[in-house]
């Protein structure tokens, strides 16, 4: 047993590069400054008309131009942006030659409205348009680019090509836990000794009319449109839903051994990963909280830590009435009385819910918390909910000694994933 293996004999997995983009801006520096200043990236949507919609704000990323817009194009551009940042920081491989596999969390892909409308126009008819009409004009080579664009594997294909990752790139979705799952897959590959390095990327550019309406029809979104910056209110009594947001996060993972051998700067450790599925309901957590409790416990066991050793929780904290209540139930069941003392903050109060990207975006923020020994706040916390007596680090960032962070992600379809990130090997 050498110092490059953990107490279970597995290779220790470290982070040597990170990239992030959110509605607050591009890059770690900008994001961290705004996050710790308690700024919100939520704004009124200008990308498309919101007539008739109950929710008219989101954490859009408007500083990356995409014309004509498609969510998949934006996801790809964001993924590329954060990967460049992460690889540059890690200074690994050479340009276009990353020495390991790609694990990509990405939203499900489908042909979108602007493209459907282009096809309908090409059909030349103005009545009786149906899928047979579209099928008649789709072939013959005029729309080949739509095939390339709307394959589920298209974003991963592009990133694998651009950055020269090795092997078969994996695109995955575990709904709002996807970003955490991408990291978990990378950790597992390194622990198995299959790879010395892995590129874990999560990206989401989903703010389009249909996606907004779909979440709205499930009554999941905040309708607190004015002012939009006050919309996301995790753990507050007057919380009324999550706010859709765009973003991306990338991590370069390496075995400690490989990172040390090449003299890389180590930004943090992925000490443990846990997951557990919930079979209760498609969109709701089991009322007894057992899947969340089991997931959190699995992460602790995987890291070889006890809950006493965690000193900050980066919450899933979406701001929906249901999620925040269930997260408190889960955390308090595992942490006991300490659940009221340990700082638990929600980055989503500022950047919104970046959906498929959230797990990776929040892992980056957790690692920055370790680096800066400063905890970003939960903003818009003006009306405490007595049923959720967390120390949410209300409204103002706080300096604190942080050695181990738990970052939680929960999603539709019974998806639960937790990561444990530390500054030093445990």
């Amino acid at each position: 047993m050498t110092a490059t293996r953990d107490k279970f004999g597995r290779p220790i997995v470290v982070v040597t590069g990170m990239g992030v983009a959110t509605s607050l801006g591009a890059g770690k520096e900008d994001n961290w400054a705004k996050l710790t200043a308690g700024e919100s990236g939520i704004r009124t949507i200008t990308r498309f008309p919101t007539d008739g919609m109950k929710t008219t704000m989101a954490g859009t990323i408007d500083f990356v131009p995409v014309e004509p817009f498609s969510s998949t194009d934006l996801s790809e551009k964001l993924g590329e942006l954060v990967t460049e940042e992460a690889i540059a920081q890690a200074n690994i491989g050479s340009k276009g030659d990353f020495p390991g596999p790609l694990f990509l969390a990405v939203a499900p892909v489908e042909v979108e409205w602007p493209q459907r409308q282009v096809l309908a126009k090409a059909a030349g008819a103005n009545s009786d348009i149906n899928y047979d009409t579209l099928l008649r004009v789709a072939g013959g080579g005029k729309f080949v680019q739509y095939h390339r664009r709307f394959l589920f594997g298209s974003v991963a294909d592009h990133l694998a090509d651009t950055f020269g990752t090795k092997g078969s790139p994996i695109s995955l979705s575990t709904a709002c836990a996807s970003g955490a799952t991408a990291i978990q897959l990378g950790v597992e590959a390194i622990r198995r000794g299959e790879a010395d390095a892995a590129l874990c990327v999560a990206t989401d550019g989903s703010v389009n009319p249909e996606a907004l309406i779909r979440f709205s029809l499930l009554s999941a979104l905040s309708t607190h449109n004015d002012p939009p910056q006050k919309a996301v209110r995790p753990f507050a009594k007057n919380r009324d839903g999550f706010v859709m947001a765009e973003g991306a996060g990338a991590l370069v993972l390496e075995s400690l051994e490989a990172a040390t051998a090449r003299g890389a700067k180590i930004l943090g450790i992925v000490a443990g990963c846990g997951e557990l599925a919930d079979s209760f309901h498609r969109t709701r957590s089991s009322p007894d909280g057992k899947p969340i409790i089991g997931c959190v416990n699995n992460a602790l066991v995987d890291a070889g830590l006890t809950s006493d050793q965690i000193d900050y929780i980066n919450a899933h904290g979406t701001g929906t009435p249901e999620n925040d209540k269930m997260e408190y139930l889960g955390i308090s069941s595992v942490f006991g009385e300490r659940a009221k003392e340990i700082p638990v903050s929600s980055n989503k109060s500022m950047v919104g819910h970046t959906l498929s990207a959230a797990g990776a975006v929040e892992a980056v923020f957790s690692l920055l918390t370790l680096e800066h020994q400063r905890i970003p706040p939960t903003i818009n916390y003006d009306v405490p909910d007595p049923a959720i007596p967390f120390d949410v680090v209300p409204n103002t960032a706080r300096d604190a000694r942080v050695t181990a962070v738990m970052s939680n992600s929960f999603g539709f379809g019974g998806q639960n994933a937790s990561l444990i990130l530390t500054g030093e090997p445990v």
Binding site: S168, R192, G193, D302
Partner: protein, 400 residues
């Protein structure tokens, strides 16, 4: 979770102990074995004309999805998959075994995005009449979209439904990315078992080929087989694939785990390998398949079950690779089941396990002579999946 296996030990042996197939040829091992041996193929040349599809054979969903409410929450691809997953759990003898299901890992390969065609058409027609106002799309979507449709569109909700209906909850991961997703689901599940990260896993996929919104995606590059059905090796003049409907799931577990519960193996899953050729120059797929074969550790006389699509140029590149294996039994599932994207590779694995468990290879179904008659017991079958656009994979399935 915590792995305590010594770091120098041999890979853990993995068995396939359950298969669940629901396809255009029927459901379950017996129906499939009969259909394959009778060279039956089920195509619909009229319903989606000029495109050809392989429609799902009728199944009684109630048998695996007893609650009507659950069935209503799913679109067809999720029902097919949840059904096939149930068959696999039954086949492995773990259905309803809460102890095992609660720690069973799950990797599903999925597409998604089943559209409401009537809603889409209605919106496009309103546009066409020049009635499009800025809020029209919103108004139509708000009024006409069913809230439950979103859940039927989310890729990870096939896994979600399997968790709800069958109670598989150890973990739930959904891979996307067409054919390669099916390869990677098997590859990662096996790697985790081989390394001691997992004891038992449910893997698989489902595909509804009877969808005009999916035909549209492949029509953009003229991939749909049209007008006349030909076997997959006889499509050079009229290349393409006929979409197929199918669900294919497998239970894979460590030998020790299977033996401890007295489960019998159908076959051993020896290895799964994958590649991602850039396909920028001719010959890259052939070279990729040659490279994968060399990593696989198969004997030269191993039989082959391939998901070759009939699309070009990939099928010709695969045929060039197969020339080196001209004297073994090669079977193309694209001829028999159509192209089922994410499902094609798990389907190939299921058929390989079935053939090994029956001690025979099913007969050829090919007019070109590439598939040859071969008697005798197959001891090794290599499953090949070369995606229509990207992704190459291979697995070695062996007799135990």
């Amino acid at each position: 979770m915590a792995e305590t296996r010594p770091m120098t030990s041999e890979p853990v042996e993995a068995w396939i102990t359950g298969i669940g197939l629901a396809t255009s040829l029927g459901e379950g091992p017996d129906a499939h074995w009969d259909a394959l041996n009778n060279k039956r193929i089920n195509v619909d040349e009229t319903g989606f004309a000029p495109n050809i599809v392989h429609p799902l054979a009728p199944v009684s969903y109630d048998a695996q999805i007893p609650k009507k409410g659950d069935q209503r929450q799913m679109e067809a691809w999720q029902r097919i998959g949840t059904y096939a997953a149930g068959l696999a759990l039954d086949s492995a003898g773990v259905k309803g075994n809460k102890d095992i299901l609660s720690r069973m890992d799950m990797i599903v390969a999925a597409g998604g995005g089943e559209r409401d065609l009537a809603v889409d058409s209605g919106i496009l027609n309103s546009d066409g009449y020049g009635a499009a106002t800025p809020g029209l799309l919103n108004e139509k979507l708000l009024n006409d979209l069913r809230p439950t449709l979103f859940l039927a569109q989310l890729s990870n909700l096939l896994a979600g439904n399997i968790a709800i209906v069958h109670g598989v909850t150890g973990s739930s991961r959904t891979f996307m990315g067409e054919e390669a997703a099916g390869v990677d689901a098997a590859r990662i599940a096996l790697a985790r078992i081989a390394d001691g990260q997992s004891d038992i896993a449910l893997i698989g996929a489902a595909h509804n080929g009877e969808r005009k919104d999916l035909l549209l995606l492949y029509e953009f590059d003229d991939f749909n087989l049209k007008n006349k059905f030909e076997t997959v090796w006889a499509r050079e003049a009229n290349s393409g694939f006929a979409l197929g409907s199918a669900g294919a799931f497998l239970v894979i577990e460590s030998r020790a785990h299977a033996e401890a519960r007295g489960a019998k193996p159908l076959a051993r899953l020896k290895s799964v390998v994958a590649d991602h050729a850039r396909r920028k120059t001719p010959g890259e797929v052939t070279a990729s398949l040659q490279g994968l074969w060399s990593k696989l550790g198969a004997k030269s006389d191993a039989a082959i079950i391939t998901g070759a699509t009939g699309a070009e140029p990939v099928t010709s590149e695969e045929r060039a690779f197969l020339k080196d294996h001209a004297d073994v039994a090669i079977r193309g599932t694209g001829t028999l089941f159509g192209h089922t994207l994410e499902t094609q590779f798990p389907l190939g694995l299921g058929l390989a396990a079935l053939a090994i468990s029956r001690g025979a290879m099913f007969p050829p179904n090919d007019s070109t002579g590439l598939e040859i008659e071969k008697s005798g017991k197959p001891t090794q079958i290599v499953v090949i999946g070369a995606g229509h656009w990207r992704g190459e994979g291979m697995a070695l399935v062996e007799a135990v």
